[in-house]
Subunit: 92 residues, 2 copies
DNA sequence: AGCGGAGTTATCATATGTGATAACAAGATT
DNA sequence: AATCTTGTTATCACATATGATAACTCCGCT
């Protein structure tokens, strides 16, 4: 069985699928956060200062299981010099 | 003094400005949430079902002082048939 | 007038995000 | 080797988001 087949089969399990999508979107979110920071050329500590918090909290945001609130996302984005809104894409 | 002038002057106060921007982005967020739901043609109750929660919680999301977590935003978007990512816009 | 659908508000218990501190790891620099 | 920078991890206390229930308003309909 190919890897693709295996993945596809696994994803027919609703629970697995949910977890997968959760991970995927989390990855995307983290990816987008990091992208903002690197584009701004800032360190975690610098972002932390601008957000009036600690660098460890920024690491937590970017590293593990991030489920930040909207206001935290806003603060982070602003610290990196970005305005923020949602980008909803219709699922086909 | 014109209204514009007054607004402009008020916004030179950092605290006022922060509050203003907070309100503005909150409005935008709520606006975007509502937009998704109406585009999907769903009632709050239908969205609530799909999110496995109560309609009152959806109302709270759309109505007052919303500061939802990313996972809540994802659930809401999915319930409305949307995928979700951030849209950062560089501040000039 | 009465009814049903849609949305709002208040409230409580619980889960979880966030702030803060400290200690550690890995690389670069001197 | 010693130091500094950057990022990571663990932990605790506290703030706040979320789930759930109930009662309410408003509006269109019969």
């Amino acid at each position: 069985m190919s890897l693709q087949k295996l993945k596809q089969r696994a994803l027919t399990n609703p629970d697995v699928k949910a977890e997968y999508e959760k991970l995927e979107s989390e990855f995307n979110l983290i990816d987008q956060l990091l992208s903002m920071r690197t584009k701004a050329g800032l360190t975690q500590e610098q972002v932390a200062e601008r957000m009036q918090t600690q660098k460890s909290n920024i690491s937590r945001l970017e590293k593990g299981n991030a489920n930040p609130s909207w206001s935290t996302l806003l603060k982070y984005a602003h610290a990196c010099g970005f305005e923020l809104s949602l980008k909803p894409q219709k699922i086909v």
